[in-house]
């Protein structure tokens, strides 16, 4: 049933990227009868390719093309995202939380914070409410639409016990897009414990098997995997007219388009706009504001592992098995703006724990040797773990740029991602470490280890939405301020990051964008 389109067909919407944003947009448009060509840089896997092995899936799913991190980032591997059909929805943990009302108005709520480039979103909570509801229904999010919450595993029970002992109130197994019972053709969760290696049974919502087959069934959607877009092209009026991409055989192709929507995650999206510079747009497409690539955010993030008095076996069951929400509010009295969440997260296997705890926490007897193996590694079965995720401040100089000389395997300049922390980020993480460790101490933990951020999985804000054209790259529909038929359709749109895991919001924005785009096409305003 999947359609194919001619390269010369200039009536199609071309979507670059098949992740949470691009995949959702493509499916939604195709359901409305709009013809879509979706170009995905990575390969198309199926459930049979997904195995319970961290090393194998890390190599199979991850975006491993060269990137350079500067500032506080891992220099050789600043981000941990995916290059595969479905994008990061293949490896995401499934947490599906709405923004809080005030997070849409961060500048108004938090005030003027020195060094931060805060803005209010040009959308608000009331406007997003129905789109959130549709996203939750689409994804089968627990705790919404009458879908029960998942049962909690051992790692959750440890966190829940400690959190309640400390007096935390809002503690539960989360809003997860993982089926607690069969729904929408997908089975119920068997508590495999490898969510972030890809769900081998498809109980977790993913664009790969949830949206793409439905889009193809409409007869209005063509997916081209292994297709790396290298440039967006435009006509003399400045309108986008198509994209150039390298196909699976490395041949350069040119697909014409009526609309181009970019959804390559927060490094590839601005990188593509910068790589599409022309004599008309010498600083890159949609970049008259100079904002393309700026305000890169990656959430607070931190990890606390603790050695508990008995076995936890934290690899058993869903990885993000529960959540403590009490600290997610905005409360200036804690000494920082915004809030954070505690979410259970184990350690991706013994090899990763053995490397990460010693390598990233200061509070261990070194990184190797007898004292290290006895204190850390031989306590593996008794470990509990949580991830701390909160809002980080946008800053103009945290940005994606192109390397002057280094090229990747496609001949494109390697992206350089710079990130340094804002004092607010540090103050929040300090609080989060203290409270996270306190949770485990309250549950009887003997020792906890504080780990700084892993390479970013929540990458946001590099083509942000703004009411004023000089403060961001796109407007409230995601259409760029400069080029009305060029859209930003992924987390790059985020004006601010909020505390919550971003996928639900990316999906809700894509559902909304599909409506606005379809209306603009119907009225011929694009």
């Amino acid at each position: 049933m999947a359609r194919t389109y001619d390269l010369s067909d200039d009536s199609v919407v071309v979507i670059i990227g098949s992740g949470a944003g691009g995949g959702t947009l493509g499916h939604e448009l195709s359901e409305k009868g709009i013809d879509v060509v979706c170009l995905e840089a990575g390969p198309r896997l199926d459930l049979g390719d997904i195995v319970n092995d961290w090393g194998e899936m890390g190599a199979k799913l991850s975006w491993n093309d060269k990137r350079i991190g500067t500032g506080a980032l891992n220099p050789g591997y600043p981000l941990w995202v995916c290059k595969t059909v479905g994008g990061t929805t293949v490896h995401w943990a499934g947490a599906s939380l709405r923004f809080q009302e005030h997070e849409w108005k961060a500048r108004t709520t938090y005030g003027d914070i020195a060094g931060a480039t805060l803005l209010d979103w040009p959308i608000d909570a009331a406007e997003m409410d129905p789109y959130y509801s549709r996203a939750e229904d689409k994804m089968g999010t627990t705790g919404t639409h009458g879908i029960p919450r998942l049962p909690g595993n051992n790692n959750y029970k440890v966190m829940e016990y400690g959190a309640k002992k400390l007096g935390y109130q809002t503690v539960h197994t989360g809003n997860m897009s993982i089926n607690p019972e069969p729904r929408d053709g997908r089975p119920s969760c068997l508590q495999l414990g490898f969510c972030m290696a890809g769900c081998a049974i498809g109980a977790k919502w993913s664009i790969l098997y949830s949206e793409v087959p439905k889009a193809e069934a409409t007869g209005h959607f063509e997916l081209r995997p292994d297709s790396m877009v290298v440039r967006i092209v435009h006509d003399d009026s400045g309108k986008a007219t198509g994209v150039e991409y390298l196909d699976a055989d490395g041949n350069l192709q040119m697909q014409k388009a009526r609309i181009v929507a970019v959804a390559g995650n927060s490094v590839e999206t601005p990188r593509l706009l910068l790589n599409s510079a022309s004599s008309m747009f010498p600083d890159g497409m949609a970049n008259s504001s100079g904002q393309v690539g700026r305000n890169y955010m990656r959430h607070l993030t931190a990890t606390v592992y603790a050695v508990m008095p008995g076995p936890v076996h934290f690899d058993r069951g869903t990885q993000m098995a529960g959540i403590v929400m009490d600290e997610v509010r905005h409360d200036d009295s804690r000494g920082f703006a915004g809030g954070y969440l505690m979410e259970t997260l184990p350690g991706f296997g013994v090899a990763a724990i053995a490397g990460n705890v010693g390598g990233m926490s200061i509070d261990t007897p070194g990184t190797w040797g007898r004292d290290y193996t006895r204190e850390v590694i031989e306590n593996y079965r008794n470990m509990a773990g949580m991830w701390l995720v909160g809002e980080d401040m946008p800053q103009a100089d945290n940005r994606v740029t192109l390397h002057d000389t280094e090229k990747d395997q496609y001949g494109l300049p390697v992206p350089v991602v710079h990130f340094d922390e804002h004092p607010n980020d540090l103050a929040m993480r300090n609080h989060a470490y203290r409270m996270g460790s306190a949770v485990y101490e309250a549950a009887g933990g003997s020792k906890s280890y504080e780990l700084p951020p892993f390479p970013g999985t929540h990458n946001l804000g590099t083509c942000r939405m703004s009411a004023n054209a000089d403060e961001g790259v796109c407007g409230s529909s995601g259409a760029t301020h400069d080029i009305p038929n060029l859209f930003i359709s992924d987390g790059s749109q985020f004006t601010t990051g909020a505390a919550e895991n971003p996928t639900l919001t990316i999906v809700a924005l894509a559902i909304r964008q599909a409506e606005l785009m379809a209306e603009a096409m119907r009225t011929n305003s694009i």
Partner: protein
Amino acid sequence: MDFSHLSRRTFLQGTGTTAAGVAITGTLGAGGIAVAEDASWAFEPKALDETTIRGLIAMARQLYPHDFLDDGPYVQVVAGLDSSAADDADLQQTLTDGVSGLGVVVSGDASHAVPFHEQSRGLQLRAMKRAETENNAFFEAVRGATLGGLYGNPEVAAALGFEGSAVEHGGYLDRGFDDIDWLPQSS
């Protein structure tokens, strides 16, 4: 994902056991070599000489010692390194030179050659700490391979409490995902 030890190269190799594809055949050298007496963990070297291999086995154990393990899993780590070195002349050189450097006991202003695998535990630790500072590329190459190879070995991981692939067993829904019994009931 081992983010602490992450380079693009180790990331691509992932955490899978490096020993899975190693042929367990033949013996390591000749002449009553202790590690070769148990043929179950001997292997046919492809790239590295005997002194280097013996030194690497000793180093792998000193890096991540566990009293419940015999030398087998450490030998497998080194078999993996030997395999990698067969396709990578730079790595072969790094490992050979690195172990050679470990085979020096420094005492005052004098240096004495003592093969690393024949050194006492304390002398080995001194040599390794010296290498960690002075020859970090070598040290980290062996440490990274040991982390991935030793703890990626399913039997070692299982002994430590990581139970491996679950999908073929129907997950943990009926196999203890919520079986914690030492925690007081929360209210």
